[in-house]
Subunit: 247 residues, 2 copies
DNA sequence: TCTGGCTATCTTGCATACAAGACAGGAAAG
DNA sequence: CTTTCCTGTCTTGTATGCAAGATAGCCAGA
C-alpha cells in the first residue's frame, strides 16, 4: 500500500504518492515540493511533475508561490474551520442518506476499528493518524459513490494537514470512541443518529485544535537558520537539509 | 458575466471559460476540446491549455482519450446516478447545517427566483438551464464556505451535462416550484424541512431523466457522416463543421 | 463492388530550452 | 559594525520541438 516511488512511473504516481504521504502524516504542511527534485526522484521531466502539481492544486492540497515554489498547503484558521464545516456537511449528509449497513460494510468497519485499537495499543502515531482519517473514507466507500469518496479523501488530507498545524496533542482514544459510537448507531440502523454523532465527533476534534497558533509564522526565520521546522516529537529530523519550508 | 475569451489571458481564463460555458449549457457533452484550437483561440501555447485541461480533468468535467483528444465528459447512467446522489448528500447536509437565513441571503435567493421566473416567461432555455443550476450554488454561497461552493459548482456542471444527455424535456416550472418550496422552508427557519425538500427536488429531476438513452451511442457514426450531434431543438447547428465529437 | 492495407495527417505525450523573477551571499561604501 | 547594492544561483512560467499513436482517405487487388 506504500510501495510507490519506485523507478516506474505508471502515470499519476506522483500525485497519489504525495496524497498518501499526507494521509499517513509523512509529509508536513509547508513542505516544499521542488519540481526538479520530484522530477529526478521519479525519473521524469518537470512537465509531468507540473501536471501532478496542477492537479493537486485544484484538489486544494498544494499551492504555488509564483517563481518561488510549490508547497503543501498550510490552511489558515479560517480555512481549517471551513474544512471541518464541509466535512460535517458531507459526512452527516452521507450517513443520513444511508438506509442499510450491508454485511460487507459491517465487516469492513469492524476490521477498521480493530486496526485502530491495535495501533493505539502499539502507540504508532503515524499509523493512527492515517487510520483516524481513513475511517471516514471507509464510510464513504460503503456508499459505493466514487464522487463522495474523492471529496472526502481530499478533505481528509486537508484535515490531517490542519491537525499537524494546530493540534498540540493527539486525542486518539477520544476519536476512536467517536468512531465506535458512529458504528454502533449504524449497526442499529439509526443513521440519523449516526449523522448527529459524526457531527459531534467532528466538533470534538475541531474543538481540540488550537487555532490561535498561527501556521508556523517563524518558518522563514527557521529555515534561514537551518533549524528543523516544528519539531513535533523526539523524532529528530535534522539528518539532512531536507526539502522543507513554507512561504 | 460572459465577456470572457477576449484576447487577454489573465491566468486561468481557459478553465473558467469552459466551466461557465457548460454551466450555461453552451457546451455540450462530448464536445471535443482541441489543444491547438484552444491555444490559438486564447493566444497562448499548448502548455497552458494542457494545464487547464488537467485541472478540468481532476474536476471531473473533461476527460482525455489517449492520443485522440480531450472531450467534455459524457456521464454514463451510473455516473449520472452518482452525481445526483452526491448532490443530495451535500445539499441536504448543507441545508441541515444552516441555522439562520440572513437578510442578504433572503434577498439573494428572492432575486434569483425572480430571475428564474423572468427567464421562464421569456422562454430563454439556455438561461433557464443556467439559473436552475445556479440556484443551488447560491444556497452554497450563503454558507460562506468556498469549499462547498466549489464542490457544488462542479457537481452542477456535471448535472447540466447529464441533463443535456438524458433529459428529453425541460420541466422548468417543476424545478422552479421546487426551488420556491425550499426557499419557503428556509424563510420559515425549518432547515430540516428544506433539506428534505431539496432531496425530493433532486429526486424529481433525476426521475425526469431517461437513463436508458445511451449517451449518444451513434456519435462516431454521426460525426463521420458530418451530421449535427443530437439535434435537441429547432436550433440548427450545422452551420460550420464545428468542433464536436465524442469518443 | 467490396475488402484490405498503406500513407499522410492530426492528435496528444513528453522533454527540453530559454526567460523572468526571487533570493542569498558577498563586496563595497558609509 | 551596519547598510546597501549587485551579482550569481535557483526557482517556476511558457513556448517549442519531436516522437508515438490514432485516424481517415486513398489505392490496389480480388
Amino acid at each position: 500500500m506504500q510501495d510507490s516511488q519506485t523507478s516506474e512511473t505508471p502515470q499519476k504516481t506522483i500525485e497519489e504518492t504525495i496524497v498518501s504521504g499526507i494521509l499517513s502524516a509523512k509529509i508536513r504542511p509547508g513542505t516544499r515540493l521542488s519540481e526538479n527534485q520530484l522530477a529526478t526522484l521519479f525519473g521524469v521531466s518537470r512537465t509531468r511533475v507540473r501536471e501532478a502539481m496542477m492537479r493537486l492544486e485544484t484538489r486544494g492540497i498544494v499551492h504555488v508561490s509564483p517563481r518561488r515554489g510549490w508547497f503543501v498547503v498550510e490552511p489558515s484558521a479560517e480555512e481549517a474551520i471551513a474544512v471541518y464545516e464541509a466535512r460535517r456537511v458531507v459526512e452527516a449528509g452521507l450517513l443520513r442518506s444511508m438506509r442499510v449497513l450491508t454485511d460487507e460494510g459491517h465487516k469492513a468497519l469492524d476490521a477498521h476499528l480493530n486496526e485502530e485499537k491495535g495501533a493505539m495499543v502499539a502507540g504508532d502515531r503515524q499509523r493512527l493518524t492515517y487510520l483516524m482519517g481513513d475511517f471516514h473514507i471507509r464510510i464513504a466507500e460503503l456508499s459505493g459513490n466514487a464522487i463522495i469518496v474523492d471529496i472526502l479523501r481530499d478533505l481528509t488530507a486537508r484535515t490531517i494537514l490542519i491537525s499537524m498545524l494546530y493540534q498540540s496533542e493527539f486525542h486518539a482514544a477520544q476519536s476512536h470512541d467517536g468512531h465506535c459510537r458512529i458504528f454502533e448507531a449504524m449497526r442499529a440502523g439509526d443513521f440519523a443518529r449516526a449523522a448527529e454523532l459524526s457531527i459531534e465527533h467532528l466538533d470534538e476534534v475541531e474543538m481540540g485544535l488550537d487555532l490561535t497558533a498561527r501556521p508556523d509564522p517563524l518558518s522563514e526565520l527557521r529555515s534561514s537558520l537551518s533549524l528543523p521546522p516544528r519539531t513535533v516529537s523526539p523524532t529528530v529530523r535534522p539528518k539532512k537539509p531536507q526539502l522543507q519550508r513554507s512561504n
